[in-house]
C-alpha cells in the first residue's frame, strides 16, 4: 500500500466480512484510501462493491473486520460520518413529486450546510433543469441531481457508486473534471465502477475486487508496469526465420500470421525487441503499451475460475 502523504487513511478497512444469512457478500476485504486521493474501486457486477460502500456509510453493519471512515466507526457514528461525506448511489431513486431544486433543498437542509453558489454552477454545467419534477427526469437526469448535491456539498469525502452509468459521454467528461477539481481542492474520492476506462483517467490508486475478495490493490502506474506491451512488425520474407529466432533468444514467443509478427513483450524487454526488429529492417513496426483493460479483464477471468 502506498502512503503518499503519511496521513491516516480517510477510509481504512481491515478484513471486512459481510454475510447475509449464508451468503458472503464481502470476504476479508482490505481497503485503504489516502486523503486527497482519487481511489478507484473496481470489480464486475455483484462483486460486493455496493455492499462495501453501504458498510462504509453505516447502512450495513460489518459481520467481522475493522472499518474506519474519517477516523470514526460508521457502525456507531453513522450520522457523524455521513454528515462529512457525500454519497451518490448506483441506483438513484428520488421523490417523484418534488422538483430537482426541491430535492437539492431537502438534501442540503437535512445536512445542515450547503454551498448554493456551487450548486447553481454545477446544475448549469450539467445542463440540469432543476425546475422540473423528478418524475419527468430520465435516469441520467436523476443521477445529475444527486451528483450536483454531492459535489456541491461542503464535505471531505465523496463516495460515488457507479455515478456515470446514465450520463452521456460529454457529461462523463465533465464529471471527470469535477472529480479532479474535488481532489485538487483536497477532497478524497472513492469511485466505484465496473468499467475500467471510467476510472483509468482520474484515479491514482485502485482496488480490484471479485466475489467479495481483494484481487489487487495499488497504484495504476505500478500495475501498468507489470503488464506486457504488444509489438507487431512485418519483416522482409527472407528474414522472417532469422528474426523469429532472434526474438526467441530474447525470451519472447512471436506468433506469425501472413508474414506479420505479433509478440507480447514484458515492459523491460521492449527496447531490445524493437532494436532487433529495426536492425532487421522490418516494416510497419508498432508497439502498443499495456492496456489496463487487458490486465483488468485478466483479473476478472482469473478470479472467475
Amino acid at each position: 500500500m502506498i502512503t503518499s502523504r503519511g496521513d491516516t487513511p480517510v477510509v481504512d478497512v481491515d478484513g471486512l466480512v459481510k454475510r447475509f444469512g449464508t451468503f458472503t457478500a464481502v470476504d476479508g476485504l482490505d481497503l485503504r484510501v489516502q486523503p486527497g486521493s482519487v481511489h478507484g474501486f473496481l470489480g464486475p457486477n455483484g462483486a460486493g462493491k455496493s455492499t462495501t460502500i453501504r458498510v462504509l456509510l453505516g447502512l450495513y453493519r460489518a459481520t467481522a473486520g475493522r472499518v474506519s471512515v474519517l477516523g470514526l466507526d460508521p457502525a456507531r457514528h453513522a450520522d457523524q460520518v455521513t454528515r462529512r461525506l457525500s454519497y451518490v448511489p448506483g441506483e438513484v431513486t428520488l421523490w417523484p413529486n418534488l422538483t430537482g431544486q426541491e430535492v437539492l433543498d431537502a438534501l442540503a437542509g437535512l445536512r445542515g450546510c450547503r454551498d448554493e453558489a456551487a450548486e447553481r454552477e454545477l446544475a448549469g454545467a450539467f445542463a440540469l433543469d432543476t425546475r422540473r419534477k423528478v418524475r419527468t427526469y430520465s435516469k441520467g437526469n436523476r443521477q445529475k441531481v444527486v451528483l450536483v448535491a454531492a459535489l456541491a456539498a461542503p464535505t471531505e469525502l465523496l463516495v460515488l457508486d457507479e455515478p456515470t452509468s446514465g450520463l452521456d459521454p460529454l457529461m462523463e467528461e465533465l464529471f471527470q473534471r469535477c472529480v479532479r477539481d474535488a481532489a485538487a481542492a483536497g477532497r478524497t474520492v472513492l469511485l466505484s465502477s465496473h468499467i475500467l476506462a471510467e476510472v483509468e483517467d482520474v484515479c491514482d490508486t485502485v482496488t480490484i475486487i471479485k466475489d467479495g475478495r481483494l484481487v489487487e490493490s495499488g497504484r495504476l502506474a505500478d500495475m501498468r508496469h507489470l503488464a506486457a506491451s504488444t509489438v507487431t512488425a512485418r519483416p522482409a520474407g527472407h528474414q522472417l526465420a532469422a528474426v523469429t529466432d532472434r526474438l526467441l533468444r530474447l525470451g519472447v514467443a512471436p506468433e506469425r500470421t501472413d508474414g506479420l509478427l505479433r509478440v507480447s513483450v514484458p515492459r523491460t524487454a521492449v527496447p531490445a525487441v524493437l532494436g532487433a526488429l529495426a536492425e532487421a529492417g522490418a516494416d510497419d513496426i508498432t508497439c502498443t503499451p499495456a492496456r489496463l483493460e487487458d490486465l483488468f479483464l485478466r483479473h476478472y477471468e482469473v478470479a472467475a475460475r
Binding site: L59, A78, V92, D105, L110, R111
Partner: protein, 527 residues
C-alpha cells in the same frame, strides 16, 4: 377490430369484475325489499318516513308514490348502482385512453402502423359495448323477479337497466372528453371523479330542494327522469344518448388537436418552488401533504354523511325496529349516543387504515433506497421512521379533528337526542388513541422486521372485526375490550374517564420506541 379486441383482452379482468359486481348487486337485493316489511301498512309507513327524511332524500333521491318494493329497490339500490357505474366509467375510460398513453403501451401500438384516430375510436367502441352489456345484465338481474316481487315488470326492469347503462355511458363519454384536456391520466381521473361528485351534489340539491327540472341536468338524476317501475319514461332516455354521442364526438375532435401523451392543458411539471426545511420531520410532512389532504377531505365527507344518515336508524331504533347488523351496533341505552359511537368506530377504522398505509411508507422508502439518501446526509438511523410515525400520528389527529368538527356541526341538525354535537365530536376525535396504537404497532414491525410490515394489517383487521361484529357474534365483553376501538370516553358524561385512551396512546408510544430501537440496530434492507 383487432385493436378493439386487444383492448377487451387487456382489460377483461377489470371489466368482468365491474360487470359482475353491478349485475350481482342489482340481482341479489330485489327480494330483500319484498321480505323486509310484513304488511302493506308497515311498508307504507316506512315509505312515508323515508319521504320526509332529509338525509335519505339527499343520499338516494325522492321515493316515488306509493313506494312498492320495486320502487324502493330502484330508489335505494339504484342509488348505489348508478354511483358505482359512474365510478367504473371514470376508471375504465381513463385506463382505456390516457393511461395507455402514459404507460407507453399505446406508443408501441402506434409504432405498428395504427392510424392516429383508431385507438380512441376503439376505446369508444369498448365503452359502448360495456354500456350495452351492463344495461342488459341489470335488466335481466332485476327482470327475473317479475311476479315474485311486487311492482317489478319487464318494462320497468328494462328502464332500470337502461338508466344504469346510460349513466355509465354518459360518464364514460365525459371522462374521455376530459382525458383529452387533462395533462395526464391521474388528473383525468381526478377530473372525472370531480364531475361524479358534482353530479351527485346537483342531484342531491335538486331532490332535497324539490327542484324537479334541475334533476335533468345531473347524469346521476336518470332514475328520477326515467322513473323505472313508476312511469318507465323512455323518452327521457333520448336526451342522455344524444348528450353522450355529442360528448364523444367532441372528444374525437379534440383528440386531433393535441400531442400524443399530452392533454390540451399543459402539464405543470415545472415549478420554481423552494423547500426551506432543516429536519426529517419537515421533509416527511412535505412528502405526505398531498395524501393527507385527500384523506382529510374524503374521511370528513364520508364520516359526516354517515353521521347524517343515522337519523332514520336512530328513529327506528327508538321504535325498536332495527335488527341484524345495525341493531346489534345500536344496542344501547341511548340510541343516538350508540349510533354516534358506531360512527366514531367506523371513522376510527378508516383512519387506522390511513395510519398503517402511512407508516408503511417508511418501509417503501427504505426498499427503494430513499432512506439511504436521507441517512447519507448525516441523519440518525432511527430518525426517518420516527418522523414518519410522528407525522402519521399528527396527520391522523388532523383528519379526526376535521371530521369530528364537521360531524358535530351536521349531526345535531338531523339526529334528535342529548348532547349530539358533543358526542359526535368526542366519539370521532377520541379514536386518536386507537390510531396511535395502530401507528406504534406498524412502526414496531417496520423497525424490527421490515419484511413483515404487511402483518400490521392483522391486528387492525382483528380489532375492526371485534368492534363491528363482536355483539352480533356474541363475543364476550372482556374479549371485545381487548380491541383498540371501544375505549373512547363519552364526553357527555360527567365522570368520563380518559384512562383507556391514554393507555392506548402509551402503548402506541412504547411500541413505536421499540420499533425505533430495532431500526437503530439493524441493516437497512433494500429491494
Amino acid at each position: 377490430m383487432t385493436l378493439t379486441r386487444l383492448l377487451v383482452r387487456r382489460h377483461r379482468l377489470t371489466l368482468t369484475c365491474w360487470l359482475l359486481l353491478l349485475t350481482g348487486l342489482s340481482g341479489g337485493t330485489v327480494t330483500a325489499y319484498q321480505n323486509t316489511y310484513a304488511t302493506e301498512q308497515q311498508r307504507e309507513a316506512a315509505a312515508a318516513l323515508a319521504r320526509d327524511n332529509a338525509a335519505t332524500t339527499m343520499m338516494y333521491g325522492r321515493l316515488p308514490v306509493p313506494g312498492t318494493p320495486a320502487q324502493m329497490y330502484v330508489w335505494e339500490i339504484g342509488a348505489f348502482t348508478t354511483v358505482l357505474a359512474a365510478v367504473m366509467a371514470v376508471l375504465v375510460a381513463v385506463s382505456l385512453t390516457r393511461a395507455a398513453e402514459d404507460d407507453g403501451t399505446l406508443e408501441l401500438l402506434r409504432g405498428c402502423g395504427i392510424a392516429p384516430a383508431r385507438p380512441l375510436r376503439s376505446a369508444l367502441w369498448v365503452l359502448a359495448g360495456c354500456a350495452v352489456v351492463l344495461g342488459a345484465g341489470c335488466t335481466v338481474a332485476a327482470g327475473v323477479h317479475t311476479g315474485s316481487v311486487d311492482g317489478v315488470t319487464g318494462a320497468g326492469a328494462a328502464a332500470y337497466g337502461t338508466a344504469v347503462a346510460l349513466t355509465f355511458l354518459l360518464f364514460a363519454a365525459l371522462t374521455v372528453l376530459l382525458s383529452q384536456i387533462a395533462p395526464a391520466a391521474g388528473q383525468a381521473r381526478l377530473l372525472g371523479f370531480t364531475v361524479v361528485g358534482l353530479s351527485f351534489a346537483v342531484r342531491a340539491f335538486a331532490d332535497t330542494q324539490q327542484i324537479g327540472w334541475l334533476t335533468w341536468f345531473s347524469p346521476l338524476g336518470l332514475r328520477a327522469t326515467v322513473e323505472p317501475f313508476t312511469s318507465d319514461r323512455w323518452t327521457a332516455a333520448l336526451l342522455p344518448v344524444a348528450a353522450a354521442a355529442l360528448t364523444a364526438t367532441a372528444a374525437v375532435l379534440l383528440s386531433q388537436r393535441r400531442e400524443f401523451g399530452a392533454g390540451l392543458l399543459p402539464r405543470r411539471d415545472r415549478r420554481t418552488a423552494r423547500l426551506r426545511l432543516g429536519s426529517t420531520v419537515a421533509l416527511t410532512a412535505r412528502l405526505n401533504r398531498a395524501s393527507l389532504l385527500t384523506w382529510t377531505v374524503a374521511v370528513a365527507a364520508i364520516g359526516t354523511v354517515f353521521a347524517a344518515m343515522g337519523s332514520g336508524a336512530v328513529d327506528r331504533e327508538r321504535d325498536g325496529e332495527v335488527g341484524g347488523f345495525l341493531g346489534a351496533q345500536l344496542n344501547g341505552a341511548d340510541p343516538a349516543a350508540a349510533f354516534l359511537s358506531y360512527c366514531g368506530t367506523v371513522v376510527g377504522i378508516i383512519v387506522c387504515v390511513y395510519a398503517v398505509l402511512s407508516v408503511s411508507q417508511s418501509r417503501h422508502a427504505e426498499r427503494r433506497g430513499l432512506t439511504d439518501m436521507v441517512l447519507a446526509t448525516g441523519v440518525r438511523r432511527w430518525v426517518p421512521l420516527a418522523a414518519q410515525s410522528a407525522v402519521t400520528a399528527a396527520g391522523c389527529a388532523v383528519v379526526l379533528l376535521v371530521t369530528g368538527v364537521l360531524s358535530a356541526l351536521v349531526a345535531p341538525a338531523v339526529i334528535a337526542g342529548d348532547d349530539v354535537a358533543v358526542r359526535a365530536f368526542g366519539y370521532i376525535a377520541g379514536q386518536w388513541g386507537a390510531v396511535v396504537a395502530m401507528t406504534g404497532c406498524t412502526a414496531l414491525i417496520a423497525g424490527t422486521a421490515p419484511r413483515w410490515t404487511a402483518l400490521a394489517w392483522l391486528p387492525l383487521t382483528a380489532a375492526a372485526g371485534l368492534a363491528l361484529l363482536g355483539d352480533l357474534l356474541g363475543v364476550p365483553q372482556r374479549v371485545q375490550d381487548l380491541g383498540i376501538f371501544p375505549h373512547v370516553p363519552d364526553l357527555a358524561l360527567a365522570d368520563a374517564s380518559p384512562a383507556g385512551l391514554l393507555l392506548l396512546v402509551g402503548i402506541g408510544a412504547a411500541l413505536c420506541l421499540t420499533g425505533l430501537w430495532g431500526m437503530a440496530r439493524r441493516d437497512l434492507i433494500i429491494g
